[in-house]
Each structure stands twice: as structure tokens, then as C-alpha cells.
Amino acid sequence: MHISPVLWQFLVKWLNASALFPREASTIAPYTDALYFFLLLITVVGLIVVGTLIFGFALRYRKERHPVAVPIEGSTLLEATWTIIPLALFLIVFVWGALLYFRIYTPPVNSMNIYVVGKQWMWKAEHPGGQHEINALHVPTGRPIQLTMISQDVFHSFSIPDFRVKREVIPGRYSTVWFQATTPGTYHIFCTQYCGTNHSAMIGEVTVLSPDDYEKWTRESTSGMSLAQNGERLFASMGCNACHSGAATARGPNLAGVYGSRLKLTSGSEVLVNEAYLRDAILNPSQHITAGYAPIMPTYQGQISEDGLIDLVEYIKGLQTNYRVQQTLTTSESNQAAPTTPGAVKP
């Protein structure tokens, strides 16, 4: 048979360009692959055992060779064997899988935080330094990166197969995932949760850079204002500082240093102040009243975008003193915007 050289060339190229196994581009990937190969192994062994039994019996006891069947009732010993061995294997898989799960979903404390907002049908990444990216994400190698993610509309899911990480991006709730990239290059970002018409177009690329290149990228693509600086502006323009001024007589609790602390609520419960708590407290204040304060804060549901909330959260996270809060308050009559040089605010 004769194949035209053009077709042949095409076929060779096409087959060579096809993928069979994903790249291992994060520190987690080898751990996931190890479990995967273990599972493949027990699957193949299981199939061989079942296949051998079936084909072996089917050949040996086919009617031509074995015309009369011999009744057998069963065997407790055999039943126990094929209960205990699969159970033991499955329990090993359970423990292994659980360890991997905790590894993937427990970010190291020193990780660098990047916010991701999902919406139909795009990903928006917001770096603390104020860099914004659409359907793209630049990260350095060798540093744990935590993504704090939220959806503005429906469920999405943020997946980077070459890193073996994925997490649902939920409307109205922060979810997090972390990874540490190992190899510079570009990798797919997929939305894996069906989210409407252009679900399959909600894709992007992670660009992994060496630390030096990353520094360069950060400098060149900043918009001039960090998230916290944007947050400071919002904080003043929405009048948050009127109550949260930090003064002893203020109507709202002091926010300086509140991030990471344990807060006692009027309901009697104690909460850890993290990003999710700060966001909730802005949107549903009546359910998060700090002990000793009156429930007078109005809800900001529907008044701030998710981007704005991220700015505010990032601002409050970095707030260590109320000096500038009070300054802004006294000068707010002159309608002066917050200065752009970072002061007490850490980017």
C-alpha cells in the first residue's frame, strides 16, 4: 500500500505532538504520580487475577472438557480472603490518598498569596503588588504560591494539570490552593467545572519564570497601585474609617493587627480572622459582631465587587497601625486621595 509522503509527514507530526502523560512541573506532581502508579499497579494485578480466573476456569471447565458440573457450595476461607485482601489494599490507598490530600490542601505558612477571581468566562489574577492578569498567571519557581480564589457568578474550578492541583472556585466563598512550580515554562489552566456557554474557552496559561525573570516581570507589569493601596482608598471612600478609626471611643472595632488574631464574638464563639472571615464580616456584618460592639454596621452586599473586596481584605491584612486611618479621617474634607507611596501599609 502506498501512502503519500505529505500524508505520512502529517501523521508523524501529529502523532509526535500528541501527549500521553502530563509533565511534572510542581513539587506535588511526583507525589500524585507515585500514588497513581501504585493504583495502576493494583488495578492491573486485580485485572490479571480476575482475568486468569475467568479464562482459566472457562478453558479448563468448558463443556467439551468437563461435561458434568461438580456442585460446590462456597468457602468461608475464600470469602474471607477476597474480603480482607481488597479491604487491606483499599485502606492503604485511603491512608496514602489522605496524606496526599492534606499535602495538596495545606499551604506552607510562608507562601506568597495571589488572588484569583473567576467569572463567566475568564480568570482574573490579582497580585499583591497590583499586577492584574486575564487568563494568565505569572509565578516564580521555588516559592510556594497560594491562590485565594472566588467566583463572581457560578461554580468554576481552577485546574493546572501539570501541577496536579485543582480546586473548586465557589460563588460567595474563598477557597484556596497552593503549589510550588519547579520548571520554567508555560502550562494549561483549565476551568474544569461546567460553567455555561463558553466553559471550554475559560482557559489560560501559567507562565513559570525563574526568580530573576519573575522580579523583572513584576517591575514591568505593575499598575502603580498595590492591592492594599487600592484598599486604602476604598476604605476611605466608603467611609469605613468613620467607625473603624482605631480610637478608643470609635463605634467599630480597631482593625489594626486584627488579621491572624482570634476574635471573640457577641454570639460567644471565637473565630480566627482570615481572608474569608474579613470578607464575610464586610458582607454580612450582623452575623459577625465583635464582642462589646453594637450591631450597627450596614451590609455591603451588592455594593462592592469581588475585586474591591480583595483590595479591602488585602488592606486590612496589612494594617498594623491606625495612624494613617486617622490622618485620612481628618483630611477627608479636602477630598484628598491616599498618597501613592506605601507607608505603614505593607504591599
Binding site: F57, F94, I104, Y194, G302
Partner: protein, 557 residues
């Protein structure tokens, strides 16, 4: 006698054989006698025709999906159309085909006969269930004709409630109504099995097919109402905005998924358990042996039904559920895998020291064993917490549940249809053509779905209309397989229809099987038994059968 050394097929002499003069098919004439029948056998046949109709609609959608995925670009249909195709494929295949497939057709036909009863406990409710099935089916078809629905079969909020302009309410109501047909079938089976067993038919003399349908019935009756509630909430959310699932009104979108999977995971067992029952009957008959470890197989059905209710959150490991609840659900998922392993080994050991023949139902059963083993083991991949993170929402999931639902359940369904076809119609299907169909289906199935495991590990997300070009080779393989699979499914439709008129007369017991259904004429009388049978032997007692046949020969002939 057509029996040779390599078959147990035992047909009456075709020159003199005739179908019984009186049977359930010719007992009454006219369309109305079918539409108002209370006979479980006729209702079973009505169901069989109905689900076949919906199967080929759902199958046509699957064909279009695979055709679109032949190329990486979105070129055959628009994105919205593609989304409607996979949504309608899922809704039709799950609710209108898989859930009723074995119970409402083969189960309806056989369960009363297998336990020696005249009919199901509530014949009119049985008929009502078929009408509800069709009302729900018509709602779904209406949604389809009016322009379709693109929620996916999972109806996930808030996408389904706030972000789509398609016929979600119509399709949702359709599924809601079909749910009641399933509840009625389950209820009927439970009452019938408890109250209407023939004298001597103790629980542990029942065929395993009855056990597995009993377990599935419990799931239907307890699980389906939760689906109904969930769908009502979705409809109310969409129409009047009650806000149970809406975070801006203090609702929780994850609550929807908890409720949905509380039904839809047990639904997986509703679909597979009756299929497992078919496999037990077929393997026993064609190896001439009682099922190895009868009690273990019976109890494992019940164990699956019980554990099946407590694993739903394994669909939500990446959704931000508490890590500790994820641990519990992962552990329970591992436990529910064990009874399936037990069954598989019991079926394999049933063959040991048997006298095995390889008729079509047996070939389908072998196919089931292989594919179900892969489907079950890949389920363990997904039950392992850390592994699930990478695999969930990709083609790995798609391949996994098609191995269980299509490789497992559909193979079992076809095994059952071929096995009991002579009983239902009185005629044999063409043996060599049907063997060809069984082999074609097996090859086509593997070619379609094995590449999807690889695609899944590469990270190709499910429900994608277009995909990166490096995934094309595997997708082309999968589409090629789907073509073969399509041929494999068309063949039985054609030759079974042909056999209704031209098939060989089957006689009472062509397979020399032991079940009560094989001791009566084919097709059976409307009242099943001339006199109430007395069960004086264990299930799958081939010595009893041999003895009985011997006696008949000496007394009659």
C-alpha cells in the same frame, strides 16, 4: 434437538413446535388492551420498548458529541448546542434509560414469576408508574424540542437557577415526575418480595436477581424523594427566587450539591445492582452451577445499598468541604468498594468445576466482569482523596462512570435481554449474529473509553467543546471506538425485531435453567402459573432440574 457438545441450548423439534396457544401476548387483542393492562409482563414489555426508544435518542446525542470532539476546534456545532447535547445525553441516559433499564423491564417481567407469584402486589400502581415515566419523558422531550436544556444532567446551581435561559424548569419537572415512576416500581418490588413469595420460597431460596432488585428498590424508595425535593427547590429558585441555594440571600450553593448527590450517588447503585443480579443468573446457568457463596453475594447487595447512602460527599472532595468530613467519606467509599470485589470473585469462582458453555448472554457477562472490574478499580482511584484532586472533573471521571454504567450495566442489560428473550417472546434470537454483536460491543467500548482514562490523567476537562490540539489523537481513537460501539448496539435492535417473527421456537426452557420462570411455558400465561408453585428445593439446584426432566421424559414420553 439442536444441542451439540458445546452448547446447552435445548430447543423443541422445530417441525412440530408451536408457540403456546394461550399466552400473555395473545390473551387480549388491541392497543387498548396493552395501554390498560395490569399484567406485569405486558408492562415490562411496554417499558422495554420505551427505554429502547430513549436509549437511541440518548445514543444519537452521544454520537454527535463524539463527532464534534473529532477535531480540537469547535466546528461541528455551536458551544450552546454542544452543551445541550451532553446535557440531554446525560438526562436521557440516566433518568430515562439506566435507572429503569433492568428493574422496570426485566425485573417487572420476572420478579413475580421468580418468586412464584401471579403478579406484582399493586398492578395498577405498576401501570401508573409506566404512565408517569412517559409523562416525565414527554416533559423531557418537550424541553428538547423547544430548544433543549444546557445545565448538564446535574442541574448545578447557581448556573441552573440564575445564569441560563433554557428550558430548565420543563426538564426539571420531567425528571421530578420520572422519579415517582421509579419510587412506585421500587415500592411494588419491596411489597411483592415481602408478601407474595410462593410456599417454600424462603428468602434464601430466592434467585440472586430478586435480591439485587430488592436492594435497588430500597435505594429507589429512600433516595428518589430527596432528588424530588432538590429539583422542586431548583424550580422554585428559578421561578420565584426563594434563595435556598443563593449566597446573596444567605443560601448555600453547596447545599444543592449535597442534596443532589445524596440521591445521585445511590442512583449509581440503583443502576448497577439489578445488572449484578442478571450476571448472577447468567453465570450460574451457563456454568451449570449454583452461584459460589450465594449468601455472600446476596448480603453484598444489601451492604452496597446501605453503604451507598453514606458516600455522597466523595463527589465534592475539591469543593472546600471540611478536610475531616472528606476523610470520613473517603474511608466509607473504600468500604463500599469491598462488596463489589466480593461479588466479582464469587462470580469467577462460580465457573470453577462447572460445565461452561459460551452462548451470547454468557459472552456479555464475561464482558461485564472485565469492564466492571476496571470501572470499580478506577472508582478506588477517585475515592482516594489526593488522587481525586487531579482526576475529578476530567475525562477520567467520564471514562470511569461509563465503564460502570455502560460497560457494566448496559452489558448486563443486554445479557439479560438475550437470556430472557426466549421467555419473553417464545422465540430465539439468531445465535451467531448476536455473538458477533457482543464481541463488537466489547471491542468498541474499550476503544471508546480506554483512551479517555489517558486523556483524563493529562487533564482534559469533561464537558469541553474544544480542547488543546495535543489531545487530538486520543480523541480520534475514542470517536472511532464510538462508531464501532454504535454498530454493536444497532445489531441487537435489528435482529431481535427480526426474531419476533422468524426466530426459532424456544420451548419452555432452552437454557436448561433452574429458575421458576423456566419451568413454565414461553411466553407465559397471563396468570403465570396454572397452580401455585411450591418451592421444594434451593435456588440454582441443577440436580433437581435433571431429576425433574428425567421424570417428565419417563411419564410423558
Amino acid at each position: 434437538m439442536s444441542a451439540t457438545n458445546s452448547t446447552i441450548l435445548n430447543l423443541p423439534d422445530q417441525k412440530t413446535a408451536t408457540l403456546p396457544k394461550r399466552n400473555y401476548i395473545n390473551a387480549e387483542d388491541g392497543l387498548l388492551s396493552w395501554l390498560f393492562t395490569g399484567d406485569h409482563k405486558r408492562i415490562g414489555m411496554l417499558y422495554l420498548i420505551s427505554i429502547t426508544f430513549f436509549f437511541f435518542i440518548g445514543g444519537a446525542f452521544a454520537g454527535l458529541i463524539r463527532l464534534e470532539l473529532l477535531t480540537p476546534q469547535p466546528d461541528l456545532v455551536a458551544s450552546d448546542t454542544y452543551n445541550k447535547l451532553f446535557s440531554m445525553h446525560g438526562i436521557i441516559m440516566v433518568f430515562l434509560f439506566l435507572v429503569p433499564s433492568v428493574p422496570a423491564t426485566i425485573g417487572n417481567f420476572l420478579i413475580p414469576i421468580m418468586i412464584g407469584a401471579k403478579d406484582l402486589a399493586f398492578p395498577k400502581i405498576n401501570l401508573l408508574s409506566w404512565y408517569l415515566y412517559w409523562i416525565g419523558g414527554l416533559f423531557t422531550l418537550t424541553a428538547m424540542v423547544l430548544g433543549g436544556v444546557d445545565t448538564g444532567w446535574t442541574f448545578t446551581t447557581p448556573l441552573s437557577t440564575h445564569y441560563l435561559n433554557t428550558h430548565v424548569v420543563t426538564a426539571g419537572l420531567g425528571v421530578f415526575i420520572i422519579g415517582f415512576s421509579s419510587i412506585f416500581t421500587g415500592l411494588n418490588f419491596i411489597v411483592t418480595i415481602h408478601r407474595m413469595r410462593a410456599p417454600g420460597m424462603t428468602w434464601f431460596r430466592m434467585p440472586l436477581f430478586v435480591w439485587s432488585n430488592y436492594a435497588a428498590s430500597i435505594l429507589m424508595v429512600l433516595g428518589t424523594p430527596v432528588l424530588a425535593i432538590t429539583l422542586v427547590l431548583v424550580v422554585l429558585e428559578r421561578t420565584i427566587g426563594i434563595g435556598v441555594f443563593d449566597p446573596t440571600k444567605g443560601g448555600d450553593p453547596l447545599l444543592f450539591q449535597h442534596l443532589f448527590w445524596f440521591y445521585s450517588h445511590p442512583a449509581v447503585y440503583i443502576m448497577i445492582l439489578p445488572g449484578m443480579g442478571v450476571i448472577s443468573e447468567v453465570i450460574s446457568t451457563f456454568s451449570r452451577k449454583r452461584v459460589f457463596g450465594y449468601t455472600a453475594v446476596a448480603f453484598s447487595s444489601v451492604a452496597i445499598a446501605l453503604f451507598g447512602f453514606f458516600v455522597w460527599a466523595h463527589h465534592m472532595f475539591i469543593m472546600g468541604v471540611s478536610n475531616y468530613s472528606a476523610l470520613v467519606f473517603s474511608l466509607l467509599t473504600m468500604l463500599v468498594a469491598v462488596p463489589s470485589a466480593i461479588k466479582t470473585f464469587n462470580w469467577a469462582f462460580t465457573l470453577q468445576k462447572g460445565s461452561i458453555t459460551f452462548e451470547t448472554p454468557m459472552l456479555y457477562a464475561f464482558g461485564f466482569l472485565g469492564l466492571f472490574t476496571i470501572g470499580g478499580m478506577t472508582g478506588v482511584f477517585l475515592g482516594a482523596l489526593g488522587m481525586d484532586i487531579h482526576l475529578t472533573e476530567t475525562y477520567f471521571i467520564v471514562a470511569h462512570f461509563h465503564f460502570v454504567m455502560v460497560g457494566g450495566m448496559l452489558m448486563a442489560f443486554l445479557a439479560g435481554v438475550h437470556f430472557w428473550w426466549p421467555k419473553m417472546t417464545g422465540r430465539m434470537y439468531p445465535e451467531s449474529l448476536s455473538k458477533l454483536a457482543a464481541v463488537t460491543t466489547f471491542i468498541g467500548f474499550n476503544l471508546t473509553f480506554l483512551p479517555q482514562f489517558i486523556l483524563g490523567y493529562l487533564g482534559m476537562p469533561r464537558r469541553y467543546h474544544s480542547y488543546p490540539p495535543e489531545f487530538q489523537v486520543l480523541n480520534v481513537l475514542s470517536t472511532a471506538g464510538a462508531t464501532v460501539l454504535g454498530v454493536g448496539y444497532m445489531l441487537p435492535l435489528l435482529y431481535l425485531a427480526w426474531s419476533l417473527k422468524y426466530g426459532e421456537i424456544a420451548g419452555n426452557n432452552p437454557w436448561q435453567a433452574t429458575g421458576l420462570e423456566w419451568q413454565i411455558q414461553s411466553p407465559p400465561l397471563t396468570e403465570n402459573f396454572i397452580e401455585v408453585p411450591i418451592m421444594d428445593h434451593e435456588a440454582y439446584d441443577y440436580e433437581w432440574l435433571a431429576h425433574k426432566t428425567e421424570q417428565e421424559v419417563t411419564t410423558v414420553g
